[in-house]
Symmetry: C2
Subunit: 541 residues, 2 copies
């Protein structure tokens, strides 16, 4: 589906770029090509003129893999290099993690994702002096194919994940050359905070990591974080699918701001303009009105908030849930908290390695949760805060520091890192929130917290078109009005209209994927759990 794009790109570039610039580029390209040719020739010459080298076919830089041939060769995964493979001659493709020449030997650590193994090339029957030198000169992070004999070792190799074997290399070929100077060192990226300062070793600041994210993501810590994140999504979906939920896909380009007009990105849309969805809120509710009964979706949500904090992103992944209930929205709370508990249990049971790997660099207390989940009412929370000396009004929203303080108080009293705060003041919630039938100051709405930070906001929604209209007008949310049973005009007309032809009572919530991962792992910055984070100051890579 990308064929047309190329031509279009060419046209756009034509306009944007002067002919002079183009010529310069072509010149540079020619220059680069010539240089590459020269280097290749040099490499070839070196090898072919060295007549003394009996091992000359056993190493080198072959042609770029361009699918010239289908090799039958089996490549063994580093993870599978165990004593059972001892004394077998095998092929492995891996990165050169480190290399260290030592007399007539060269020790390498070969890495494949989170796994690594020690390897050595030693001058002997299968390797020449030149071959050892070649191996020693391979740049770190290059990708190599090695043929090697697997040998058991007497003393465990503590520095590698494969501790019981090492590889005795008999052939080594470079599949992809890394440049000699890396913009940052992997070992600096995984050093625990603080250690760098004490020992005078470097740590890498976050912007440098993010600027070079492709290398930063290669660390054991990053590999563990994003494998765990993939697990959160899977656990979320599997739990809900088992509960009978249907996955939906909602549009991200929308004509009306779903959560109101502020904090919304504008998109130019042909001859008009549109917005980026701040949540799938209106659409997942429309699916409930359309009889899907229980729905979830996983997708990007966009917030044009100029907040440069540890927990705000302008684009993040929403795990959204919406479901019809029978008589009380606590049915919804139970469904969501049970889903969260299934996620926590799944992580605890299936991702222990990842949790421990992250813990090595970022130590934290194991995540605690209760079954069933603790539910406190807002007024109880406020009372606990007041008891702790906080001065706040009944209908006042919780500030971030107060949320955190309340998290600590709850942890002390109930020993849980996860709880629900129920029945928020109506005034601090969105227009579509169902008011509490017993007290107009409050609402049938809730937030959920992990380690004292909000990860979900949810509520019973108003399922009556007339009440919804009144609340929207009260909030000045849109330009429509309700005249004798007919909605006239208005940007969220199609949303309100959804409730005019029968709608069941329903509720739901939206979970921030990155926050769940960050807080579960006890990390302190949401950028660590976003592969390519977006904030007001970062749009690349």
């Amino acid at each position: 589906m990308t064929k047309d794009a190329v031509q279009g790109a060419a046209e756009e570039a034509d306009q944007a770029q002067s002919k002079k610039g183009l010529k310069k580029q072509q010149k540079e390209a020619e220059k680069a090509a010539k240089k590459a040719e020269k280097q290749a020739k040099l490499a070839a010459d070196t090898q072919s003129t060295d007549e003394d080298d009996f091992a000359k076919d056993r190493y080198g830089v072959p042609q770029m893999v361009q699918s010239q041939q289908k090799l039958d060769r089996v490549l063994v995964r580093v993870q599978k290099l165990t004593p059972e493979k001892a004394d077998q001659l095998i092929w492995v493709r891996a990165r050169v993690h480190t290399s260290r020449a030592k007399g007539k030997q060269c020790f390498l650590v070969l890495r494949q994702q989170q796994f690594n193994v020690q390897a050595l090339v030693a001058v002997g029957e299968r390797a020449s002096k030149q071959m050892v030198k070649f191996a020693a000169n391979i740049n770190k992070e290059s990708i190599v194919d090695v043929e090697a004999m697997v040998r058991k070792v007497e003393q465990k190799i503590e520095s590698c994940t494969q501790q019981d074997v090492e590889l005795h290399i008999e052939r080594i070929f470079v599949i992809s050359q890394a440049e000699p100077r890396l913009p940052l060192q992997l070992e600096d990226c995984v050093r625990p905070d603080g250690e760098g300062d004490e020992d005078g070793r470097a740590t890498v600041n976050q912007d440098t990591r993010l600027d070079n994210r492709v290398i930063d993501l290669r660390t054991t810590t990053s590999q563990a974080i994003f494998r765990l994140q993939s697990g959160v999504c899977q656990l979320f979906r599997d739990t809900l699918t088992n509960k009978g939920f249907v996955e939906i896909q909602t549009p991200k380009i929308i004509s009306a701001a779903s959560e109101g007009g502020a904090n919304v990105f504008t998109v130019s849309y042909f001859k008009t303009s549109a917005y980026l969805a701040q949540s799938p809120q209106l659409y997942k509710q429309m699916c409930i009105c359309a009889d899907f009964d229980k729905v979830f979706c996983v997708g990007p949500v966009f917030r044009a908030e100029d907040s440069n904090t540890h927990r705000h992103l302008t684009e993040f992944v929403g795990l959204d849930i919406e479901l019809a209930f029978n008589y009380h929205y606590h049915e919804v709370i139970e469904s969501i908290t049970d889903t969260m508990v299934q996620i926590f249990k799944g992580l605890r049971d299936k991702f222990q390695t990842e949790i421990q790997t992250v813990g090595k660099q970022y130590p934290s207390e194991p995540f605690r949760f209760l079954e069933p989940t603790l539910r406190l009412e807002y007024t109880e929370g406020v009372a606990m805060l007041r008891e702790a000396g906080v001065d706040m009004g009944d209908e006042e929203d919780l500030s971030t520091p107060n949320e955190k303080l309340l998290g600590r108080l709850v942890k002390e009293k109930y020993d849980t890192d996860f709880y629900v705060l129920d029945k928020y003041p109506l005034a601090v919630r969105p227009f579509y929130t169902m008011p509490d039938p017993n007290d107009k100051k409050y609402s049938n709405s809730y937030d959920m917290f992990m380690r004292g930070e909000e990860i979900l906001s949810g509520a019973q929604r108003i399922h009556d078109a007339q009440l919804l209209t009144e609340r929207a007008i009260h909030h000045n949310i849109a330009y429509f009005y309700y005249v004798t049973n007919t909605l006239v005009a208005g940007k969220i007309k199609s949303y309100i209209d959804s409730f005019r032809y029968g709608a069941p009572p329903h509720g739901g919530g939206g979970i921030g994927l990155e926050r769940v991962c960050m807080l579960y792992l006890g990390l302190h910055n949401v950028r660590q759990v976003s592969m390519f984070p977006r904030d007001p100051k970062r749009l690349t890579p």
Copy 2:
């Protein structure tokens, strides 16, 4: 996470709306509220003054469900109403699909998603004349709670999914009132094309359906389509997870157009501007460079193409795959085709009901596929077309009609609706496509087709920074240049940089979810399989 939004919305609305408008709105709201109150009073009066009605507590319109109480009542699913439940008194919540009064009886069909059951209220011990009248007057699509005795029927009820029982209603309460006039009728929405014309009955045109999508989605056809679509996503992910793939989340707001500068939506991003990702292409490749080895993602992709065809959307869902391979990109093709085959088998085995439901309205031949998947080379395809009388050049791209024709020729010759066309001309592919090492006119790239329409475009990608730079310059793709081994400036610098520190050979492809669903089901418009489609002319609902 939506609390701040409300205030922002209020501010925005304040600016946008005059005070006069506000007053008008308030007046209208008050008017509407008064009217509602009056109606409620009237309803209450009617009931309470009707002293003769012994059944007056057995029906009515109770207060809106606002979570006033936690009822212990079990609601039985319509799907579970089988002869095993005979002679049990049960509660059901469902929509009034149809109602028909007949003397002292009222027959209703109660619907819950794709399931429905016949019910009746008859004047007798448990129901008064007034109650029957009340039931007969409930607007279609309203949601009701009924208490009823399940009774076996002697003759199968052919018009319902629950054919062996009917419900004898003893209580009936309206949970949500539908307005009396529906903008379109469900039975008109599911009528097979053409039938409307023959019998003089209405069919509903697509724009009317989409304008009233929430009702259109309630039909058995729509329910089946989107449950099957949910299944495609699940099968896609489960298959890949079992193959060891990791799910990734890639940013949709990007600083450089991933597929070139044309067809890209622009977003205002604080003080600068950005683009909406046309694909996760660059990011999934960066994940490969970052050692994730095999990745997939499911998410929206955006194309600002002003194409108003049956198969183009401006926003659709991409099922994307990228993986490192060993020696030949056919390893990638095999991985993708196997995934597709698993999806086809899963649909065939688990979604037969949905397939047949859709087939009732839109008849089509069952989808045929081979194992292993048929792979033809581009030159073979061109030869077949030429044999069929098509005049085209070797390096010419396939036009849509030629793609369809080739699909028919392939179906005739090989009896498959799914095949791969391999080795496209280099000239018609994106800049990051690996050239064929044996013939510079061609490339290591492929498309996959279902019923003669493209559903996937993919290739071996260039994993060498220098060659990638040369190809990008050749395509005028961006404003950068390569000087003595260092990339300077340029919008896709961070992408090209990803290949400078070791990158494995890799390839992949992007699948259009909606097209897969459309073509698998033999439908003819992609809007039928997009819940809330976006095209150049449609931004709502």
